[in-house]
């Protein structure tokens, strides 16, 4: 599929879309997550003094960055994916474009940009002397891939569902905000009262974010957890594709 020239043209266009128009566009891919990082660091790090789990060193900003960027990649992919087909309505209703490519290119570009941004930040932090393992760039890849698959599956579902039920995109924002607070991004799981901790541990994203922390901050190597995460991600992607294949050929009637 990556070799498909049509898909490549679509990805190229998706990348250009991000950088066209605004003055800040060329640096937005880095600036936007940095702003989110700044906001969270201010609220949770400075005001609320959220403790960094001891195994992850002592820098709250480094802890936050490593968990936040993958999460933003996921949330942004699904949110952008939700409107991707509607945004390309003129293209998909007038040309025989394979429709699955549209959400796929959105998710791929969003993940690539966010991964690049975090990689730049990780290298920068390491150079500045923070406790940051460059090996994490390699060993976090399975977790990134699992997250990518999950995002793709959800994007395929919401992109078509959004056309028929236009309230979906609006519900995604609050949903993702809630989810982000219960998977250990802004504070360690230890900060959550024991009564609720089992619930949080049942959330697969908690384990995924933990793998990000482990690989980048503690220098952990490959783990069996990766395999489980990948299997879960692939299952979501497969389900999403099955959903998409059923609904997408008929969305013209509703666009």
């Amino acid at each position: 599929m990556i070799r498909n020239p049509l898909f490549r043209a679509l990805v190229e266009r998706e990348v250009k879309n991000r950088f066209l128009g605004g003055v800040l566009s060329p640096i937005w891919w880095l600036a936007q997550p940095l702003l989110s990082l700044g906001v969270y660091a201010l609220v949770f790090g400075l005001f609320m003094r959220a403790p960094v789990p001891v195994q992850y060193g002592d820098s709250y900003v480094a802890f936050l960055a490593v968990g936040l960027w993958p999460w933003l990649a996921f949330a942004e992919s699904v949110t952008r994916g939700a409107t991707s087909l509607i945004a390309q309505a003129s293209l998909i209703t007038k040309t025989a474009l394979p429709r699955a490519f549209v959400p796929l290119s959105t998710v791929l570009v969003t993940f690539t940009l966010n991964w690049l941004a975090l990689t730049v930040i990780v290298i920068l932090f390491a150079l500045l002397g923070f406790k940051m393992h460059l090996s994490g760039i390699l060993f976090s890849l399975p977790a990134w891939l699992a997250l990518f698959f999950a995002a793709l599956g959800f994007a395929w579902i919401v992109s078509t569902a959004q056309i028929l039920v236009r309230d979906i995109e609006g519900m995604l924002g609050p949903l993702f905000m809630l989810l982000s607070f219960v998977c250990g991004i802004q504070y360690g799981i230890e900060s959550i009262p024991a009564a609720y901790r089992d619930g949080v541990m049942a959330n697969p994203f908690t384990h995924l974010i933990a793998r990000m922390h482990d690989t980048y901050l503690s220098g952990a190597g490959a783990s069996w957890v990766d395999a489980a995460l990948l299997a879960g991600g692939a299952a979501i992607a497969w389900l999403g594709y099955a959903f998409f294949k059923r609904v997408a050929p008929h969305v013209d009637d509703y666009l």
Binding site: A9, R13, L91, K94, L164, V165, V247, D252, D253, Y254
Partner: protein
């Protein structure tokens, strides 16, 4: 028989009725269960035809007849509710010139994605790029965003891309209706060359001239159903006749008034009118006129196009012909047209019952007839002519 390029088999399309804000969970659930939509707007019903290589095809029909929907199904953009459209070989679709162009990107950038959509990529695209840009003839604008283009420039770029594709089957929707005269001519001459080189065209056009010139066979769609399928010449004549009759609606009403006058007066009335031996060169008209006062009436016979444009008319009074009495106030006549030069089209013959002085029309009766043929000459009649240098 040459190879089949397109097989449209019992295609139907129903659009669901939807509100302003999408369709809701019910529609989503229905799609997931793969249940067909039960009610809605029936855009196409049981469309069935095949297109063979080298046998260009036209779709004609009024606005809203379902032509564009059918083309979208054929191009694989839209799914039919029932039936199938099988394409064999490469298909180029030009559903709407500039479809898929993004306003923020330059002409060159847009060409790339559009070309990829039509299967022209990589080195093949690079090799064709210069000739595409040359055909579009929009100069340095090729590197400006499409949003700065005039609509004519967008059209040029869209068609220029198609010229590079040379697909087995080219699907076009009304592309000849846009652009200025010289660009239209350029497009038509390109299409003729494409057809001469063995290309096959599936054309939607309101221009019957183009239909007759560019295609061999045609389908007439009427409210989503096939009203007629046959040679382009035959379908064009029938379709044109339908339109002329429709335009003549107002005039028909006026004629109906005359008829009512005739029935109140009832002095002279056409009681029988038959057309026989209709050929490309003539026909015979036989009729009978009832005279209430027993005096010998006159008859006027006229040929008009379906929209009422007069072609020729004469009367028994002008020609000095006396109708033959057939007893009890009935008078008969017969008129044979020999060697007429009517161009192939649908016509009406009008017979008017007149008083013996040939002063006043008392009654009018019409009969439709069609002169067959596949001439592409324009106008009403063929005027004898000779070419020379």
């Amino acid at each position: 028989m040459s190879e089949i390029l397109l097989n449209v088999s019992h295609v139907s399309k129903t659009f669901p009725r939807i509100g302003r804000h999408g369709a809701g969970f019910a529609a989503l659930a229905r799609l997931l269960m793969a249940k067909p939509s039960t009610d809605g707007f029936h855009s196409l019903t049981d469309i069935d035809f095949i297109v063979r290589r080298g046998e260009s095809f036209a779709l004609v029909g009024e606005n809203g007849a379902g032509k564009s929907t059918l083309l979208k199904i054929i191009a694989g953009v839209l799914q039919p509710s029932a039936g199938s459209a099988k394409r064999i070989g490469t298909v180029g679709a030009l559903l709407e010139l500039g479809a898929g162009f993004h306003p923020e990107y330059t002409g060159r950038e847009n060409l790339k994605l559009s070309a990829a959509l039509q299967g022209l990529t990589g080195a093949a695209f690079a090799a064709q790029l210069d000739s595409i840009i040359a055909f579009a003839d929009i100069g340095e604008h090729i590197d400006a965003p499409i949003k700065t283009y005039s609509s004519g420039m967008v059209v040029r770029l869209g068609f220029a891309l198609v010229t590079a594709l040379k697909p087995d089957l080219l699907i076009t929707d009304e592309v000849l209706a846009v652009g200025d005269e010289s660009f239209q001519n350029k497009c038509i001459s390109w299409m003729e060359r494409y057809l001469a080189d063995g290309g096959t065209l599936l054309l939607v056009s309101h221009s019957l001239y183009h239909v007759k010139k560019l295609t061999h066979r045609a389908v007439w769609l009427d409210h989503g159903a096939m009203r007629m399928v046959g040679s382009s010449a035959d379908v064009s004549i029938a379709y044109q006749a339908f339109h002329e009759a429709k335009r003549a609606g107002a005039k028909q009403a006026a004629l109906a008034n005359d008829d009512r006058d005739a029935s109140t007066l009832g002095q002279y009335a056409v009681t029988d009118l038959q057309l026989t031996d209709i050929t490309m060169t003539g026909m015979t008209v036989r009729g009978r006129i009832k005279s209430r006062d027993g005096r010998r009436p006159q008859v006027a016979l006229g040929i008009v196009r379906m929209d009422g444009t007069p072609v020729y008319g004469t009367t028994s009074e002008i020609d000095g012909f006396a109708l033959r009495g057939a007893g009890s106030g009935a008078f008969e006549f017969a008129l044979t047209f020999t060697e007429w030069s009517l161009l192939p089209a649908a016509y009406k013959l009008r017979a008017h019952a007149m008083d013996p002085e040939g002063m006043r029309v008392y009654d009018t009766v019409e009969r439709d007839f069609t002169v067959l043929g596949d001439s592409r000459e324009q106008g009403l009649v063929r005027l004898p002519h000779r070419w020379g240098a």
